[in-house]
């Protein structure tokens, strides 16, 4: 299945590339053939329903949770030894389920699959799944990076996120704040860079300097990060003091004030601001949606009612039911004055009737005033029309008198 705009886009690209007409036709024909699977749309729809159904999501959620549990159990050496075979089998099962999910989702929508962020996450996790195997193959059994490969398997639990609506909405709401976070991080990095170079040249370059903490740029960065998070900074300061850098205190304190107090607090403030914004926007969107849905529902009910009534009118045995009032004439006869009906609607309460009638009276007044104004206007215009020829005559007579 393809979209109309994709088709047109393909055509435009062909023309832009300077194809001749016959080539354009050929390309669009191939495009249609490739994406227009009119043969298996039914099966495709069936698979799509299966994916969006409850059974599939339950299956995936249970698989991922089981996988997470198995990974936790595998960290313990004794259990791993004891249940080695079980873990191997279960691992193959999990990998097969993930690949099945990938293939089935790709089958339903080959092009649209890549537009969804969570599907890209799935692809990345499948690639990660294959990392330990390939590392083991390429670099042998005793590669130091093997445990890194096994460590990042823990990311598998992130697959759980698309199946939980709450977390998805939370991430969408917070996703707006990513830009701010990134910019603040870059600012902090710049600040640390400046101070790192300063610190290196002040404390780490000379021979008597504190080479341990300020020896090269990387270590200087770490030291500064430690100062930013104000963890163990007194020890670092003590190191500098022992080497005799008396003025280093000013440096440290200044950086702590700037980095920790100012920047991190600014971080909090910016996050509060954006979280509030995005949550408000999100709530407003939800409310709008609900409002629109409600309105739509009301319209549907109204339309259904009207259709029903008109159908009943046409269905009447003779064509004597020309209007609605004739239709319900029989019903009206059964109504008696002594029957009470208790209603709580606004439109049948006495205040409403009073207010409505008084508003109608006001409206009548206004309209009658309007009508008077119209009459006045017409009168004035008429007078003007009558006055113009007489004015002209008098003016010309005046002119002749002057001469």
């Amino acid at each position: 299945m393809y979209m109309e705009k994709d088709y047109i886009l393909c055509k435009i690209i062909c023309i832009a590339l300077g194809y001749r007409t016959s080539q354009v036709k050929l390309t669009t024909f191939c495009f249609v053939q490739f994406f227009d699977r009119r043969k298996d749309t039914e099966y495709c729809a069936y698979v799509k329903r299966f994916i969006e159904g409850r059974f599939f999501s339950m299956l995936m959620i249970s698989t991922i949770s089981l996988n997470a549990l198995c990974m936790v159990l595998q960290t313990d050496y004794d259990i791993k030894n004891y249940l080695f075979l079980v873990f191997e089998v279960v691992e193959v099962l999990f990998v097969s389920v993930y690949c099945f999910e990938f293939c089935i989702k790709l089958y339903v929508d080959p092009l649209g699959y890549w537009k969804n962020g969570y599907n890209l996450l799935d692809v990345v996790i499948i690639i990660i799944l294959s990392v330990p195997f390939h590392v083991r193959k390429l670099f042998g059994r005793h590669c130091p990076y093997l445990n890194i490969g096994e460590g990042i398997q823990s990311l598998r639990i992130l697959k759980l996120i698309p199946y939980s609506r709450g977390i998805k909405t939370l991430i969408t709401a917070l996703g707006q704040t990513i830009c701010t976070v990134a910019s603040v991080m870059i600012l902090l990095f710049l600040l640390m860079f400046i101070f790192a170079i300063l610190g290196f040249s002040l404390f780490g370059s000379s021979d008597g300097g504190d080479l341990n903490n300020w020896g090269n740029l990387a270590v200087a960065f770490f030291t500064l990060f430690s100062l930013t998070t104000v963890d163990g900074w007194t020890d670092l300061q003590k190191d500098l003091d022992e080497r005799g850098f008396g003025l280093s205190r000013a440096f440290t304190i200044f950086f702590i004030l700037l980095g920790s107090f100012v920047f991190l607090s600014m971080f909090v403030g910016v996050m509060i601001f954006h979280t509030e914004d995005s949550i408000k926007k999100f709530k407003k969107e939800l409310e709008n949606e609900r409002h629109v849905a409600l309105l739509q529902e009301k319209q549907n009910i109204l339309k259904k009612q009207q259709e029903e009534v008109s159908r009943l009118m046409q269905k009447g045995t003779n064509s004597e039911y020309k209007t609605f009032s004739e239709l319900v004439k029989g019903f009206k006869k059964t109504l008696r004055h002594s029957d009470p009906m208790v209603l709580e609607d606004f439109c049948t309460t006495l205040p409403f009737i009073d207010i409505y009638l008084s508003t109608l009276d006001n409206q009548d007044n206004t309209i009658s005033k309007l009508q008077e104004l119209y009459y006045e206007m017409v009168n004035v215009l008429n007078q003007m029309l009558d006055d113009i020829p007489t004015k002209k005559r008098s003016f010309s007579s005046e002119k002749s008198v002057e001469f």
């Binding site: 960290t75 130091p144 445990n147 890194i148 460590g151 990042i152 823990s154 990311l155 639990i157 992130l158 709450g166 977390i167 909405t169 939370l170 991430i171 917070l174 704040t177 976070v181 770490f222 990060f225 430690s226 998070t229 963890d231 163990g232 909090v268 996050m271 009910i301 009207q306 009534v309 020309k322 209007t323 009032s325 239709l327 019903f331 009206k332 059964t334 109504l335 004055h337 002594s338 009470p340 009906m341 209603l343 709580e344 609607d345 606004f346 439109c347 049948t348 309460t349 205040p351 009638l357 008084s358 508003t359 409206q363 007044n365 206004t366 005033k369 309007l370 009508q371 119209y374 017409v378």
Partner: protein, 505 residues
């Protein structure tokens, strides 16, 4: 509304007007006309109780249905009937051969004296506990009577609490479990009872758990929180704020899990190394330790020391370990913690807005009721001095096209679909009509517009009793009125067009 109403021409098939359609649909709904027209009029109530009690009519009714069954239709009430009211009508209470204990229990529980008595006992309990803790280790003989008195007092208070719970169970067993405050009361009381029961069963020895359970007596003081409304409001606000953050906490837990598991593998060589004097070697040994370490890093405590210690092992890749730690610090400690702070702040702001919204809501309702009275009074005034008023006040009412007034009515009529409830204020004695003065500065249309929203939002329920045929007639007339107004509007537009065309001639 009398039974004799003026006749309106019957065969009048107009064009579609939205407001008229709304009125008609309201009519159809109220009288269940569709069911009637489809022939399912069995479901529609056609007789009422008065007919049934009249013996002549009753015979006719009974003969009409050969099963001699009559369907009753009970109008559901829109407001909740509290349990206390309902209890008085129950058979179990009214026709009980013995005294209705549940009624008495409810009465006792609601009595102000009883509530104050229990509150005082809770206070006393706290004081007793404080004194007891001070005296528990003295061997002074003179203190013994005091300790005895304190113990007896404590037991007495516990029995009163149990009695209170029993009273509530007598009143309504199932309602007890639905309130969280009652559950808390029950939990605290059973915790106090538990050590004694355990001793009775036969578990001997001063095990640590028994000591702890005895100390749980102090939790009884927390019962005080349930009693005072202000504290309840604060606690409820806190709980609500936490509830909205559940998904954030779940996400945080997921990240904890990811980093804990990854940490075990990343620091494997560190955990297994043979180098002596590694301070933090146990930190990434297995899953529980790893989780605790991840939490320690989350609180930014000694992270650099941990990292430097890990670097002492040559087999550990420095790049990956520092990347791990820095990433977790940035993500968890800096970003996540600030997200939590931000969400708490927004939640509290939202709660504060809601509370202020309630205040403005009641204010708006007050304004709406004043507005109602004003309009009605105005109409009565206008009926008396109509002509004079027009001439005097023609100055400051700007010429408005009928379009505006029609849109106003659209607003009103479209709200008739909602079953909003309004009310006539119970007393028509107007306390302050000073707003009438400002009335004359504002024309009627803006005035109505300003107060229309408040009118819609009023949610006091009032029931009006209509005779059925009058109601039907009312709806019909309302519908025809809409068509007439529409026609007048169109005529107005024609007049305007004619006026404009006149100029060209």
């Amino acid at each position: 509304m009398s039974a004799e109403l003026p006749e309106v021409p019957e065969n009048f098939e107009p064009t579609a007007v939205a407001r008229a359609d709304a009125v008609r649909s309201r009519l159809i709904d109220t009288f269940s006309l569709i069911d009637h027209l489809r022939g399912l009029s069995q479901a529609v109530p056609r007789h009422n109780l008065r007919e049934f009690l009249d013996p002549a009519r009753q015979r006719k009714l009974m003969l009409g249905d050969h099963h001699q069954l009559v369907r009753f239709s009970i109008r559901p009430a829109y407001h909740r009937i509290p349990f206390a009211q309902r209890q008085q009508c129950r058979l179990r209470v009214c026709c009980n051969p013995w005294a209705p204990i549940s009624l008495w229990a409810g009465w006792v529980l609601r009595k102000r004296i009883f509530i104050n008595f229990v509150n005082c006992l809770i206070f006393l309990n706290t004081i007793f506990l404080m004194i007891e803790i001070e005296l528990v280790n003295t061997t002074d003989v003179r203190m013994l009577p005091i300790m005895m008195a304190l113990e007896v007092g404590s037991w007495f208070i516990l029995f009163v609490f149990i009695l209170e719970i029993l009273l509530f169970w007598l009143y309504n067993f199932f309602l007890f479990w639905k309130s969280a405050w009652n559950l808390f009361d029950f939990f605290v009381t059973t915790l106090s009872l538990l050590p004694e029961i355990v001793v009775l069963i036969g578990v001997t020895g001063e095990s640590v758990w028994l000591q702890l359970l005895r100390i749980c007596r102090v939790l009884r003081s927390l019962k005080l929180f349930a009693r005072f409304r202000q504290i309840r409001v604060i606690i409820l606000a806190l709980v609500r704020a936490l509830k909205t953050m559940t998904f954030l906490l779940v996400l945080l837990l997921i990240f904890f899990y990811i980093f804990a598991l990854a940490g075990i593998y990343f620091f494997e060589s560190y955990s297994r190394s043979d180098i002596q004097d590694l301070e933090y070697q146990m930190y990434f040994m297995n899953m529980p330790n790893s989780l605790v370490t991840v939490f320690i890093l989350f609180t930014l405590d000694h992270w650099y020391a941990l990292l430097q210690d890990a670097w002492r092992v040559p087999a550990l890749s420095k790049a990956f370990s520092s990347l791990y730690v820095i990433l977790w610090l940035l993500l968890g400690s800096i970003i996540f913690r600030n997200i939590i702070v931000a969400m708490m702040v927004t939640n509290f702001q939202a709660i504060r807005n809601e509370l202020s919204e309630e205040a403005t809501h009641s204010e708006m309702q007050h304004k709406a009721s004043i507005f109602k009275r004003q309009i009605i009074k105005r109409r009565l005034n206008q009926k008396d001095g109509e002509k004079a008023k027009i001439r005097s006040s023609s100055g400051h009412i700007a010429p408005q096209t009928s379009h505006h007034s029609a849109s106003l009515l659209t607003g009103e009529m479209s709200q008739t679909e909602n079953l909003t409830k309004t009310s006539v204020p119970k007393d028509f004695t107007a306390p302050q009509e000073y707003l009438l003065v400002s009335d004359s500065l504002v024309d009627w249309e803006t005035h109505v517009h300003q107060n229309l929203h408040g009118l819609m939002e009023m949610d006091q329920d009032e029931q009006v009793v209509w005779p059925r045929d009058s109601l039907f007639r009312y709806f019909e007339l309302l519908e025809k009125l809409q068509y007439n107004i529409e026609e007048r509007k169109q005529l107005q537009e024609f007049a305007v067009k004619a006026l404009i065309n006149l100029k060209d001639n």
